[in-house]
């Protein structure tokens, strides 16, 4: 089964339909997703600013990690749970959304950045001073840029400008959204 067919099927399961059509559940999930942004994205921004050496230079980076990272992780867990449920409520449209697809790609890159930072850069943290070494600053800057774009794209998923059922779209858009428009839609 193709992903397209799978998400089409998923969207017709009774729980997905119930979530999509519910009066409050979807709005509440979406609200929790947005509010948790303040914890998750907010703590990431503060940490990235510390990596860049722009704030809290007197506080060792290791201490910022040990005291703030648990909050970031808690926020991440809530973001993933609410985000997955939001996707589950509208799977096919989300899967074909150009904003959703770009967001997932950038999430992957952000994850890669976290992994590279923690395996290759962070082990030398004990030697860092007020302004961390260049590698750490790059990781911080990349993280800041990626997460800002992810928030931006997340907001845009709500808009249907490039949706498959809104034809005509350019061939490029239809390619990027795996959309095969029907003849009758032109």
């Amino acid at each position: 089964m193709s992903l397209l067919a799978f998400f089409g099927w998923l969207g017709e399961t009774s729980w997905s339909v119930a979530l999509h059509e519910s009066q409050y559940a979807y709005s509440i999930l979406e609200s929790i997703h947005v509010w948790t942004l303040a914890l998750f994205f907010g703590s990431i921004v503060m940490f990235d600013l510390r990596l860049l050496g722009w704030i809290m230079r007197d506080v060792p980076v290791g201490e910022v990690v040990s005291r703030l990272l648990p909050w970031t992780i808690a926020g991440f867990i809530v973001m993933v749970i609410t985000g997955s449920l939001l996707f589950y409520a509208i799977p096919l449209r989300s899967y074909q959304s150009i904003f959703f697809r770009t967001k997932m790609l950038l999430l992957l890159l952000a994850g890669l950045n976290v992994w590279m930072f923690h395996t290759r850069v962070y082990p030398q943290v004990a030697t860092w001073g007020g302004i961390p070494p260049k590698r750490a600053r790059i990781a911080g800057g990349v993280s800041l840029a990626l997460w800002t774009c992810i928030v931006f794209l997340g907001r845009m998923i709500a808009y249907n400008w490039f949706d498959c059922d809104r034809q005509p779209q350019s061939d490029l858009i239809n390619f990027l959204t795996s959309c095969i428009p029907m003849e009758s839609e032109f």
Partner: protein, 158 residues
Amino acid sequence: MDLLPTFEWFYATPVGETIRNSVWLFPVIEAFHLIGLGVIGGAVLLVNLRLLGVGLTRQPVAQLSTEAQPWLLGALALMFASGFPLFLSEATKAYYSYAFWVKMTCLFSVLVFTFTIHRRVTQGGLAEDNPQLAKLVGLISLVLWFGVAWGGRWIGFS
């Protein structure tokens, strides 16, 4: 005092009309508003978690508060710069939305609170001397900020 005529005047401003007539202006300004929300969240949590006795507990409250201040002010500026045009574009809707009034009440309260009591407690060393007071002040601040976020999100649903 009836504010409706004032809100109707805001609604009719060229900025409000331009945003209403554009497909992408509202979403893009709104996205910037969300990014501001995140930065405010970070700056506010940094200080208030410390007041609650978690987070960066080895640092003096006054120092954390001073460090967070420019980012709080910068993010607030971004919030006003993006929020006000959004308001202009739907001022009459905002007038009839209870979520909008909850948001504005909480926003006004939290701004006054932040620059009076909250500041005195964080900057004057009171937080270290009186952990119970610090916890109370941190909690009030977080609850009020959440009221702002709650109202903000709910304007869109009303």
